[in-house]
Amino acid sequence: MNEQQTMLADTASALFADLSHQATIADWSQIEEMGFAGLLLDEAAGGFGGSFEDAGIVFRLAGYNAVALPVVEAILAARLAADAGFAADGLGSIAEAANGSIDGGAFTGALRGIPWGRSADYVAAPAPDGGTMVLRTSGARVEQRENLAGEPRDVLHFADAPIQRADADLFALGASARAAQIAGACDAVLAMAVGYVNERKQFGKPLGKLQAVQQALAVFACEAAAANCAAVGVAQALDRGDARFEVAAAKARANMAAGVGTSIGHQAHGAIGFTLEYGLHPLTRRLWSWRSEFGGEQYWMDTLGRQVVAGGADDFWGGMAGRTDPPA
């Protein structure tokens, strides 16, 4: 991390640890005061001028601390709104999917999977005919839903709502952000598990002395490391430009890690980790949610598989390795 990134990480870390999974939307002003929503906006537009790599650091820490606020979504929505030339004010969020149609520059239908949609002033969504659309939420009917961790994942119903468009692939951006959140939450679950097995004694010694426990947590560590490297890799690719390959690879790989990590994390904690009182579930219930949001493993493996098959076997390796080579 460069100096600026270290400062960003320090700021985010302190604030997010304080907010944690117990934050409510009433705490949003604290995020706003720090200017996080403008992370991906140009400095000329009053933003931080950050890269996707910078944003990835914040996304990861939001995941690590299970922050119960739409930090990630607001950052992406602000950037997409700017891309669309949409005059954004208030809280922005993003939708995972749209079901409806666009007629004469207006959307009619439902947007699904909107974090804190009930509180959002505007929302960016995948347009039914490709690209991204941005629209105000005023006048939309709100159908409240929640993910496993109790975070709002609302459905908003629109009739003839004016939209503005951007070229960006919102679903891909959402997937890359969730990969970073998964990476952070995996590290947090791992840290909790390590702390727990070093404290908890059975058979007269800490659980962490048992080889079976050690080996399981080592497997988890490898998975967490993979998720973290995938998340950084996709952020760097987004900064370079075309990240179709990396988005698919990173979300698929992070999802695999989330599956292994939640299972080993709970096993290491035994029954206490299964209680509402203990602080493991805010992380694991988010991990299970994020594993489905913006594409599951099979979806992204299929997508990536079609990409590499279209490129042909003889270009498979060169196509992949060449992606990080500087232009000749």
Partner: protein, 388 residues
Amino acid sequence: MIDPSKGLRVQTFTIKPFEMPAKAAALREQVRSLIREHVPPGDIARRANCWQVNDPAFSRALGKAGLIGMTWPKAYGGHERTALERYVVLEELLAAGAPVGAHWIADRQTAPLLLRYGSEEQRQRWVPGVAAGEIYGCIGLSEPNAGSDLASVRSSARRDGNEWVLDGQKIWTTNAHIAHIMIGLFRSEAGSERNAGLSQFLIPLDTPGITIRPIINLTGEHDFNEVFFDEVRLPADALVGTEGEGWKQATAELSLERSGPERYLSSMVLVTELVRHAASTGEPAAVALAGRFAAEAWTLRQMSLAVAGRMADGEDPALEATIVKDLGNSFEQAVPLLVQQVVELDLAAPEPLAQLTAQLLQVSPSFSLRGGTREILRGIVARGLGLR
């Protein structure tokens, strides 16, 4: 690594963004054209696990092209290229399944060890030949009662006037039958225990008293050997580095050995054939498997390169390197099993997909044994997590 007491910014794997060398694309093209020129299509199964496939003629061609000893000083036949330029060459060779086994150990370990700890005479005598692709090495670590438990080494070295006298036995010694030299770990202090009192020796394998016997692996191939030492007399200057520091020297650069591209690319040629199969049949399960392989291989490449980049900056990310090896071995080992699961194969058929799957099913158990078993690696990772 993880230290819960440090609060909320712990990370399992410290990531430092790397930049690929400006000449990467040109280097890839150079390697590909060398392979086209020197590696006949021939037996497709020889492309699997290719860093254990020997072809001295190809090694010499690589040496001539300046692609062995790439980072070493020119004074010893090296080429003073960067570590990441070397990385690009290695990953290209491995992904293509080129037969790089003959010189692999000498390029990766033997000569670098001599450059770090060896005497000037040892370097001058042996390193240029390694860089030329003409001198091959092997590693004398494992013994019948010292495999994963390496500190149980019992083979001995005793001083007799101006000479060292070696006695004992090494086992599982890859390529002892084609190698010119061994770097061997011997107990040089009688009565010493565990990792104390061990020293490394540079042993020309044509020295009288050395007997090399093949151990044939389950495919019928001859990779590894038993090496017997019966009053083998070496001059005093056969000692490498410092007497009694053998353990430290032997384990100092394990990161180099553990995180290289060979730790996840041993099955890459089969991955490529699976992509070909998916492209020609369009089978959805094969297409999805191609995607899974791409996702895992891409992630492992990121990880392996992150470690390579940090080592190039003079760091020793030992834990990250261990993680790369464990995860990489699991991937390359799973590849043939997953291909077999998804594709209907006639393993007796001559098609590349069948031949490579058959070969890798048989040799892949060794992937998580060689260079540190899975269980040992996970123990190291656990210790890094703060367990034990």
